[in-house]
């Protein structure tokens, strides 16, 4: 369910154009015709990287195959390899063919391939950008892309400033007339508030602020969007979505893998900056925010910012935050090394691979309802979920033995894997005695809407090309998230080495102590 579709097509693609003209073929009553991006060229920096290979290129093909890309579409890869256009096309085709979600159709590929070019060069070489400029112009002419260009920075953040400067120096970032320029950046958006601001200044000195799209691929996931549908389209849940009924909320993102070959990126960053700052705080915002006036980018961002600005840190950070590093051991049947033994990691590193925090939200709706956020690597399994745990009933008209097996009611949003929603409540155990035990009621996305959900990147890339931004975090949201995280990081900086935890289980003892201090326990996800 995609709740974020504007009611009458996309604001950029449909309805009213800037000159007041409205397209007679876009009837507001027409619910069938898709939003198709306008003519444009997408330039990908770092096209040979993992992200481009595994996610971006297949997503672009799938969009084309679903008929959502324009005929006038150019795709330019920028990289160091000495490839011809044809070699690059073959390489793209190979990766698209193995990774695409929809069927591989030659006719779709033929349409796409004509607009594919490769630009060779390094980020510090002005001549390479001048050459890129020529290729872009040539694609504009060959493919009638009307001079609209999007730049995808699939590169380490340290490269953003230099690429941005080169785009400005070569004139690529400037547009003439109606043509647009957009830039897409991936996390991390800095490593604290100050660096995030610097990064933002660099990018916004080159691109208009409404042309900058920060990708948080979690927000492109259908289940995350369904959170909004579930909260705001139904009568059933919103009345109990407050401190009167909710006891606390647990947001978990667990990974069963270590850092792999990402030591260079990960060491010094850590779990909190890598995951809590963006994904988990966004999930918190969507769970806790008030109803937006509409699902337009502006209204949605306003509500998210409002709730993020009301987040209060725990008074005693030593009690209500926890961090850890995975130790050598066994992950299931696999023998694994500890974080400090990973290749490329400083053996004295204090970078955390597990982080948990308690946050409170100072609003009438959430007063007294703690939000517990945790994330970690090498945990028991790969799972992301939001669990809203309800208070116990104030009075139970049963004998005390009847309800001793009953826990608290809960609604669990499973973001991945097994996307869906679980409702947990008590039910009578069959038999002559009255005895109540917890049972689950389950909605499984994959069963009710089988298999056809688009990948997060398909949705997000299409939104960029349409210029429609409700699913992208704004500068303000990024700022607010760093404001929440910075004091915690600062505190951790004074605490020496993080606690070691067993690989393949559920994190350090400190995280359990955090919950016990409040008389609660982590759910077993």
């Amino acid at each position: 369910m995609s709740t974020l579709e504007p009611e009458t097509g996309g604001p950029a693609s449909a309805g009213q154009a800037a000159d007041g003209w409205s397209n007679p073929l876009r009837d507001p009553r027409d619910l069938r015709i898709p939003r198709i991006a306008g003519p444009c060229t997408l330039v990908i920096f770092g096209v040979t990287g993992d992200l481009a290979r595994k996610k971006l290129l297949p997503a672009i093909y799938d969009l084309a195959n679903r008929g959502l890309l324009p005929t006038s579409f150019g795709l330019i890869g920028f990289g160091r390899r000495s490839w011809s256009d044809d070699q690059f096309r073959d390489w793209v085709k190979e990766h698209v063919r193995t990774r695409c979600r929809t069927v591989f159709r030659e006719s779709t590929w033929n349409q796409l391939t004509e607009g594919i070019r490769f630009a060779r060069g390094t980020f510090d070489d002005p001549a390479a950008f001048a050459h890129l400029g020529e290729i872009v112009l040539q694609v504009d002419a060959d493919r009638n892309t009307h001079g609209n260009h999007a730049f995808y920075m699939s590169v380490p953040p340290s490269a953003f400033p230099v690429v941005a400067r080169q785009l400005a120096a070569s004139g690529l970032s400037e547009s003439a007339g109606d043509a647009w320029r957009r830039v897409i950046i991936e996390k991390p958006f800095g490593h604290d508030l100050a660096s995030a601001r610097r990064l933002d200044e660099t990018i916004s000195s080159v691109f208009e602020s409404d042309s900058i799209f920060r990708i948080d691929h979690y927000l492109g996931k259908e289940t995350v969007q369904n959170l909004l549908a579930m909260r705001f389209a139904n009568m059933l849940f919103e009345p109990i979505w407050n401190a009167n009924y909710v006891d606390h909320v647990q947001i978990t993102m667990a990974e069963d893998i270590g850092i792999g070959s990402r030591a260079g990126y990960y060491d010094g960053i850590g779990a909190a900056r890598d995951v809590i700052q963006n994904h988990l705080l966004q999930l918190l915002a969507l769970t806790a925010m008030e109803e937006p006036v509409s699902f337009s980018s502006h209204d949605l961002a306003m509500e998210k910012a409002k709730v993020l600005s009301a987040v209060r840190l725990p008074e005693d950070l030593a009690v209500h935050t926890a961090r850890g590093q995975y130790a050598a051991g066994w992950q299931g049947e696999e023998k694994v090394c500890g974080y400090l033994q990973e290749q490329g990691v400083d053996p004295a590193s204090t970078t955390e691979t597990y982080a948990a925090v308690r946050l409170d939200i100072d609003t009438r709706r959430w007063a007294g309802v703690p939000f517990y956020l945790r994330t970690g690597k090498r945990l028991g399994k790969r799972v992301t979920e939001i669990a809203v745990v309800f208070r116990k009933a104030p009075h139970l008209p049963f004998e005390s033995t009847a309800t001793r097996e009953m826990g608290q009611n809960a609604i669990v949003f499973r973001i991945q894997p097994d996307e869906g929603i679980t409702l947990r409540f008590g039910s009578k155990v069959p038999g002559s005695r009255m005895e109540v035990r917890d049972v689950n009621m389950d909605f499984d996305y994959g069963r009710s809407f089988t298999g056809a959900s688009p990948e997060a990147y398909e949705r997000l890339i299409l939104d960029v090309l349409l210029g429609d931004a409700p699913l992208f975090p704004t500068t303000q949201e990024v700022d607010l998230s760093w404001r929440i995280l910075d004091p915690i990081e600062e505190f951790w900086g004074t605490q020496g080495a993080p606690e070691q935890y067993r690989s393949g289980a559920w994190g350090p003892a400190g995280a359990d102590a955090l919950m016990h201090a409040d008389g609660r326990a982590w759910r077993l996800p």
């Binding site: 397209n23 073929l25 009638n144 089988t450």
Partner: protein, 317 residues
Amino acid sequence: MIITLNDATTRAIAGKLSKMREERGEAATDRVLTLLISCSEDELEAALRAANEASREHPCRVIALVPRDPDDERAGLDAQIRFGADGGAGEVIVLRPSGELTKHLDTLAIPLMVSDIPAVAWWPGTPPQDPSRDAIGAMASSRITDAGRSAEPLRAFDALRRHADANDVDLAWTRLTLWRGELASILDQPPHLPVLRCRVSGQKDDLSTLLMAAWLRYELRAPVGISWNDTGCRLTSVALTRADGDILLTREAGGTGSAAILPDQARLLLPGEKPQMMSLPCRSTADCLMEELAQLDPDNLYASVIHSDFDFSEDRV
């Protein structure tokens, strides 16, 4: 897998279904709709193939009603339950009533429909004159016809048009979605000039071509001409004329009216720009069915288009 139940009762079929569900550990609540197919024996297998493909996106219980000889003195019911590889992402129940039973098909389907979810009726071949008053159609919240596949498409469609209910739709309209999407996005781009006149071409008497003409005439308020050809492909080209020249979207390989058709592709010609090829696959019935099942609310635009100046008695060449 296919289970055959000859001389069956609906109670026995329902019992068998719930037993199978228990054995396979499934819940009927995973189904999002009941699809009622009303067809003849020759149309059955093709219809089930399309329904099974569509059910992968919209898990449904399919109930196919295939009446046999109504004059048979013996009133009886033969049934099949298909599931697993033969049942898509749900299960298929084929009901073959004969004699008296063919006269009240609805009472056969009612005990087998999944509770509390919408039912959709689909006639893959000749539709009834008035789907919403048909015994099967009346039980459904949406009704899908495919008049183009009946023996006399124009006559069948004319009847549907006269009896149209807000929840009825014909697949001739669904087949146009990709074309309409492309045309709308072409007009999104500047220069934003009014369309002065249009011309559509397609296979003689093709309903999709007629609907395209009607849609353009309704939305653009411009004269629309139709050219018929014998390419064997439904809609083959649309030309929109503006002050800056002609916009042409065509499947025809050579000039207009040529018999050669591009497979899965179309050519787009815009004034002052190089011709471009685009992927524009012919939509399969399963594709169209998926679109309909995704969208169960009334299509008010379709209703306006078929009630607009929709004149197919006259050959507007």
